[in-house]
């Protein structure tokens, strides 16, 4: 894809754009996941209350550590569940954006 740079060089420094695009998708996915984890753990451990000062107190710090661990656990569990439901679920329209709701070519 030309927006990622030149295309015609076929030597050792050639750029594999499919590989690059996959890396960008992976980066976006991890960033989105991280941002949601930050927001969720803020809501569970810190947020909402009027802050007495700018520091995390002991209880908040402990809560954040457990929260990150649990969030990662949940991500694993959900991933396994989605995998066990597999391609069937996707094909039948479980994934928004797929399936008959959006017409087909």
């Amino acid at each position: 894809m030309s927006f990622l740079g030149g295309r015609s060089n076929a030597n050792a420094s050639a750029v594999n754009y499919d590989k690059m695009e996959m890396a960008v998708t992976e980066l976006d996915t991890v960033t989105d996941f991280f941002n949601r984890m930050v927001s969720s753990c803020y809501t569970k451990c810190v947020g909402g209350r009027y802050p007495a000062d700018g520091d995390l107190n002991k209880g908040e710090s402990v809560c954040i550590d457990k929260c990150v661990a649990k969030y990662n656990e949940v991500q694993k569990k959900v991933g396994e569940k989605l995998q066990s439901r597999g391609a069937a679920a996707q094909a039948s329209g479980a994934a928004p954006g797929s399936g008959s709701a959006f017409g087909s070519l």
Binding site: T25, T29, D32, F33, R36, S40, T43, K44, C45, V62, C63, D65, K66, C67, A69, K70, Y71, E73, V74, Q75, K77, V78, G79, K81, L82, R85, A89, Q90, S92, G93, A94, A95, P96, G97, S98, G99, S100, A101, F102, G103, S104, L105
Partner: protein
Amino acid sequence: MDFSNFNSAEQAHMTKIIEKKQMQDFLKMYANIVEKCFTTCCNDFTSKALSSKEDACVANCTEKWLKHSERVGARFAEFNAEQASQ
């Protein structure tokens, strides 16, 4: 959506774009389920590991979300078919 007025080159491009979007939508749904089911199921942060109760909750919550999403998709498809036939 109606792509019947697309020529074969345009359909090929569109298929590729749709495939990419389906991948992104799947990843977004994955992140959504994690966020919602975590919020619903996890409220005790005195331990790092999921309790068996939380574990069961996450499994049920995920299953329910998928079934919910499928049902909404089915109703939405019916609605669109109705609209198209009017």
